[in-house]
């Protein structure tokens, strides 16, 4: 194949093999979800109908024409955002969700926020440099490699990374096969708000912070996750926190 300047699955530009011409529009839109044109910002096109995807792309191209003149990308972002929301929303004739509960626990909040010690757990896939969880025993797994192994993540037990609150943002690393990590690479607070939590503590909005925060890649086997949750909850209690902020991606 001819070398082709294309975008790798991580979103980085590089020379790669030119993808095959898709056999149909359906194959084209589906190739954005872990296929030849993988793009985690647009993998939702796989769940669109051909008509929906065609309308979405037509609208996007039309708005790009406006952006030539206005320089304003906000309408583009809003169009993609709305298409994403619509695609992830269950259709009226969808089968019932695998996990559905009519009710659930609600623990009482015992103290005011100003006297509260808060913790953080995210599903963003962050870890500290030098403390890579090395999923599946792979050393220094890249984001591209994680995406290649997305199915393995979906059938495996998640690994919980411990992140000392004193960790500088520059020492944070992130890897996750389920979402585009480029924003998190620019600023970890997009998905792991460690600096914002410290600021809330320093301003007195909250009384204090756990000594350790937590993160795991949320693309995981749900049953296996539930099996390890008792150990995770026990570890969280060791942090002596009053409340926990949770951030999925």
């Amino acid at each position: 194949m001819t070398p082709w300047a294309g975008y790798a699955s991580s979103g980085t530009l590089g020379v790669m093999d030119e993808p095959d011409v898709p056999s149909s529009f359906e194959a084209f839109r589906e190739s954005f979800a872990y296929g030849e044109r993988n793009d985690l910002n647009f993998k939702f096109m796989k769940s669109m109908t051909d008509a929906e995807a065609a309308s979405f792309l037509q609208k996007l191209l039309h708005q790009i024409g406006d952006t030539y003149d206005t320089g304003d990308a906000v309408p583009l972002i809003e169009t993609v955002y709305q298409a994403q929301v619509d695609s992830y929303s269950p259709a009226p004739d969808s089968p019932p969700p695998m996990f559905s509960y009519a009710d659930g626990p609600l623990a009482p909040v015992e103290t005011s926020l100003r006297n509260t010690r808060a913790g953080l757990l995210t599903a963003s896939g962050h870890f500290v440099s030098g403390d890579d969880p090395n999923p599946f025993g792979e050393i220094a797994m890249t984001q591209e490699r994680a995406i290649e192994r997305s199915e393995d993540f979906l059938s495996s037990t998640p690994l919980l990374s411990e992140i000392p609150v004193a960790t500088p943002a520059t020492e944070l690393r992130v890897r996750h096969a389920g979402y585009d990590i480029r924003s998190s690479l620019k600023d970890p607070n997009v998905t792991f708000p460690i600096d914002r939590m410290k600021e809330a503590r320093d301003s007195g909005t909250i009384g204090g912070l756990a000594s350790t925060f937590f993160s795991f890649p949320g693309i995981t086997a749900q049953g296996r996750l539930r099996n390890v949750l008792p150990q995770w909850v026990e570890r969280i209690h060791e942090e002596d926190v009053d409340v926990m902020l949770l951030v999925p991606v």
Partner: protein, 91 residues
């Protein structure tokens, strides 16, 4: 969905939780009766806001923290109306 399980387990152990969810997954919060959820009109993968948009991050964090004091019923979902906004910065 993963954090839905986490939220329910932590809450059941006695520690209150607030979960920040992007609007695309707000229906999951409802289906799983997550104790307290803050839904944000941000794209998937950017729950707190754009990179370096510290004002938006802080706004989202404060709204989430407020839910610890304001929520009285399991399954409460508060939606912030502000759309995502990009921030210009040099790579």
């Amino acid at each position: 969905m993963s954090v839905g399980h986490v939220a329910r387990a932590i809450e059941a152990s006695g520690i209150p939780t607030v979960t920040v969810v992007t609007k695309s997954f707000a229906h999951r919060a409802s289906e799983m009766s997550i104790p307290r959820a803050l839904a944000v009109r941000h794209p998937v993968g950017r729950p707190m806001g754009a990179p370096l948009d510290t004002n938006r991050h802080t706004y989202v964090l404060n709204a989430a923290l407020d839910m610890f004091e304001s929520t009285t019923v399991n399954g409460t979902i508060v939606e912030l109306p502000e759309p995502y906004r990009p921030v210009r910065f040099e790579l």
